[in-house]
């Protein structure tokens, strides 16, 4: 397991960091690099500001998005209310939509000349959004799905008698929530928070797009500007990436400290699958609140894109479907890109699911000495910008000798799949670990005593108990790797463009309408796939219940 993570994530990253120490090591020259680069973060104004901004944005978003995602997940799995399904769909949409597209939507909405000012006559939107707190809010609305999914996956099973016991002892529902139910969810909440933090500090798309209106350089932004320099500064990118990794390590230590000595494996044979119930009252209120929330979280960023995709090219032109028509006319690049991306994402999600499941198992049930290392490793690829990881992949997988053993993966679609797996592992591992934390080891031990082998234990005991998480994890990984831009833009083989590369290119060519139309079409298709798989899985579950009752 360690080896797999090592090859997939650490090695490429290490390659980039080693560049700082020994520039040229991959090209046959050995000389020592300039270590003072690492200290430059306190000397160069841009770098220092980037570090500060990244920490601020990361912390603020983590707190808010975890609260928001957690609360939503809690409400969603406890109560049945109209529009609840809409929340799930929106979460997927937000999760898979590339962050630069979301950000673009927000910019279109809130820019001084944006939709808010022009169509709604609301001039204050710009000042509200384009300030640090506004960015944190936008980030929160984009990243809360990670916390939502993690917590929701952990809420799949309920041990009612724990809550019942508390109620019988006279605790109010609020006290039960605060002292029994929430603490038991701590691992999942912490996992979700970590994911949010990683994804926020590693995000390039959002700060970059918002920077169009408001300058807020973050670490990934500075990493990019090191790469936009020629002669290209891999060493600077490496040094800055080192700080990103450091941030992760710090965040992980905080998490470990917070959860020390506690046990969360509360599932027992009394656990029941939680079913949302119709609330005694306030169902319509919930629906209303949910709709209002979605109107902001989804409506603003994606709605702006929708509007953009329907707007004619000429200024002041009316609405048109031209951009959608253009998607499938002319060159077939978009269709091909979509096919490539789906192929890569499917492969990545499937391999990632196996690796992530096993990693989570190791993290949860073994006393393996390097557990903590695995834990950190499994998160690194989320925080380190794809372009840095991509460069590392080239260093590692483009060495001439690999050709002789047929493993020169750079230049083949396999390198994209590999990168996709690396990108999928953090999400899968976190979601799985959050769910597994609830499954006591003794359930597995019991099966072992009955003579069940390792794989049959996983298959017949563990997997069924965490199947909701498995599904969430697989689908999340699939969805987000379809749109992985940064990695595929430096790794895609000749004539093998992927969907995000095509979209980004359209954006850079000022074809905003086309870019928006392509994004919405691609995202719509992916969400459709995800929902049908989800529904299919649910359908079989429901049917199985009916046959047995």
């Amino acid at each position: 397991m360690l080896a797999v993570l090592f090859v997939l994530i650490l090695l490429p990253l290490l390659a980039v960091v080693i560049q700082v120490l020994f520039p040229g090591i991959f090209f046959g020259t050995l000389k020592t690099g300039d270590l003072s680069l690492l200290l430059d973060i306190f000397r160069r104004p841009l770098w220092y500001a980037s570090l500060k901004n990244s920490v601020l944005l990361g912390l603020g978003t983590t707190v808010l998005a975890t609260l928001l995602g957690g609360a939503l997940a809690f409400a969603r799995s406890r109560w049945a209310f109209p529009t609840a399904r809409l929340l799930d769909i929106s979460v997927w949409l937000l999760l898979i939509t590339p962050s630069f597209i979301l950000a673009q939507g927000w910019v279109m909405f809130a820019a001084p000349d944006g939709l808010a000012a022009q169509r709604l006559g609301w001039d204050g939107a710009s000042a509200l959004v384009f300030q640090p707190a506004g960015l944190i809010a936008v980030m929160t609305l984009s990243k809360f799905p990670l916390a939502y999914l993690t917590v929701k996956a952990a809420l799949q099973w309920r041990v009612e008698r724990l809550s019942d016991a508390a109620r019988l002892s006279g605790a109010s529902p609020w006290t039960v929530l605060r002292t029994v139910e929430l603490p038991l969810l701590l691992p999942a909440i912490a996992s979700g928070a970590m994911l949010v933090f990683m994804d926020t500090v590693g995000d390039f798309g959002l700060p970059a797009s918002i920077a169009a209106v408001f300058r807020f350089p973050t670490l990934p932004y500075s990493i990019y500007s090191a790469l936009y320099t020629s002669p290209i500064r891999f060493d600077m990118a490496g040094a800055l990436s080192f700080y990103l990794v450091l941030l992760i390590a710090l965040a992980m230590s905080v998490q470990l400290y917070a959860m020390r000595k506690s046990r969360f494996d509360f599932l027992s044979s009394r656990a029941v699958e939680s079913q949302p119930r119709r609330p005694a009252r306030g169902g319509s209120l919930l629906a209303l609140a949910n709709s209002a929330f979605l109107a902001i979280a989804i409506g603003i960023p994606l709605g702006s894109n929708l509007l953009m995709s329907l707007q004619g090219d000429s200024a002041g032109g009316g609405f048109t479907l031209d951009h959608y028509r253009a998607l499938f006319q002319g060159d077939s690049r978009l269709a091909q890109g979509l096919a490539h991306s789906l192929e890569i994402a499917l492969t990545a999600a499937a391999i990632g699911l196996v690796v992530g499941f096993l990693t989570a198992y190791v993290l949860t049930y073994t006393s393996f000495r390097l557990k903590k290392t695995i834990d950190v490793l499994s998160l690194v690829s989320l925080a380190v910008p794809g372009i840095v990881l991509g460069i590392g992949y080239i260093f590692i997988w483009n060495q001439a000798w690999l050709q002789h053993i047929g493993l020169l993966l750079y230049g083949t679609p396999w390198i994209l799949a590999l990168g996709g797996v690396a990108g999928a592992i953090p999400v899968i591992t976190r979601i799985m670990a959050g769910a597994m934390a609830q499954v006591p080891e003794r359930l597995l031990a019991a099966a072992q005593l009955q003579g069940a082998g390792f794989f049959s234990r996983l298959r017949t005991v563990l997997a069924p108990l965490v199947k909701g998480a498995l599904l969430s994890a697989g689908l999340t990984a699939f969805g987000s790797s379809v749109f992985d831009l940064a990695l595929s833009s430096v790794l895609y083989p000749p004539n093998y463009m992927t969907l995000p590369v095509v979209i980004n290119k359209a954006f850079e060519d000022l074809r905003f309408g086309y870019a928006s139309a392509a994004t919405l079409t691609g995202a719509g298709l992916v969400v459709l796939i995800i929902l049908s798989v989800d529904l299919l899985a649910r359908g079989t579950r429901r049917r199985s219940r009916r046959t047995t009752s």
Partner: protein
């Protein structure tokens, strides 16, 4: 038993996802092995040589495609070249940073044969460090314009195929008229235009560097720093990239901008309220050059490609049909876009100078932008 059925579901799901994965990989393998020239088959043709070692021992050169890294014209150049010469072509397109990252990371084992980008300083540096084919002269070299032949380096490592303005002055016609808009680069520092102007960030946008480097070489480092400082003091908005500048300009957030030429004309042609001024002192140019990788295994095809790009007929086709069609051709006998100003004057910093000072200048901007 519910548990039993549930177990089956999960097993089935796992099996499904695995089989999908296998079939996805299978599909890739299959297409990798397909040698057909169909659209889908082209992609893996290049990978064939790298994944199958035996294929590389005896390559029949005409079958292996030429790999070109480029940042524009990827939408039309492939069929044009293939039809004209019979060589097969494969493209990797991306922005300047992505391609530069790739070229640099591939240093030990380059995958590209030709690079064709509007980043002359970068390519000049590649030439200086011995990574480009040296001393080769294309057949039709005599047909270069005077401007273009002045740009060919002594070691013959690259050849210009055209040049465009890294920035012209573009203004929103709702805010200014031809008379009230800024007309010179010095005007951008005028208090009249306080908080009304924008430009792209040289630390991020590829074409913004040729723009600023011109001032740094022609005025000297300190004077240029003073000039840009005065722009910042005048409330200059700095956007990451030219498309962002374009959006801000049409949206009304800024009223005039130093905007890359084809972006500016694209806005105008879309009917946006934008007009263009070519400063009389000249617009800093970004030069698109083509260079051949030193170790290329496809030398004949690579030379054919560079000569094809220098061919007046090709350049005319790029101007007539390409997306980045506003540029000054490098070959004689080619007509630039009719609506491109007749008096368009291009000026530029020497490639060697710009290449040597790139890190320093970009860093200055990057740190400046924070304040």
């Amino acid at each position: 038993m519910p548990a039993m059925v549930r177990r089956k579901t999960v097993t089935a799901l796992l099996a499904l996802s695995l089989s999908l994965a296998v079939s996805a990989c299978g599909a890739q393998n299959a297409s990798q092995n397909a040698a057909g020239p169909a659209a889908e088959g082209q992609a893996p043709a290049g990978t064939e040589a790298s994944t199958a070692p035996e294929a590389s021992t005896a390559p029949s050169k005409s079958d292996e495609p030429l790999v070109v890294y480029l940042n524009d014209f990827d939408e039309i150049i492939q069929p044009m070249f293939e039809q004209a010469t019979g060589y097969k072509l494969e493209l990797v397109s991306g922005n300047g940073a992505e391609l530069a990252s790739r070229i640099e990371a591939e240093k030990g084992n380059p995958h590209w044969d030709v690079v064709w980008m509007d980043s002359m300083p970068l390519i000049d540096q590649l030439g200086k460090t011995g990574r480009l084919l040296e001393g080769w002269t294309p057949a039709d070299i005599g047909n270069l314009t005077d401007f273009a032949s002045g740009l060919v380096p002594a070691n013959g490592t690259y050849y210009p195929t055209g040049a465009h303005a890294a920035a012209v002055i573009a203004y929103n016609t709702k805010a200014f008229t031809k008379d009230t808009a800024p007309k010179t680069w010095a005007d951008l520092a005028d208090a009249k235009f306080k908080n009304a102007l924008g430009m792209a960030d040289p630390a991020v946008a590829a074409p913004a560097y040729p723009f600023v480097s011109y001032f740094f070489q022609s005025q000297g480092m300190d004077a240029a720093k003073g000039y840009f400082d005065s722009l910042f003091k005048n409330g200059m908005h700095v956007y990451p990239k030219n498309p962002n500048v374009a959006k801000a300009l049409t949206g009304g957030e800024i009223k005039a901008a130093a905007l890359q030429e084809s972006n500016a004309y694209a806005l105008k042609n879309k009917g946006e309220p934008v007009d263009i001024i070519w400063p009389a002192e000249g617009a800093p140019a970004s030069v698109r050059v083509a260079a051949i990788q030193k170790e290329t295994k496809h030398l004949e095809a690579a030379k054919a490609f560079v000569e094809f790009l220098l061919d007046p007929a090709t350049q005319q086709a790029l101007i007539d049909k390409g997306e980045e069609s506003y540029f000054e051709p490098s070959a004689k006998g080619v007509n630039a876009k009719a609506d491109r100003a007749g008096d368009a004057k291009l000026v530029l910093a020497e490639a060697a100078w710009a290449g040597e000072h790139e890190g320093e200048i970009k860093q200055w901007f990057a740190d400046k932008a924070v304040k």
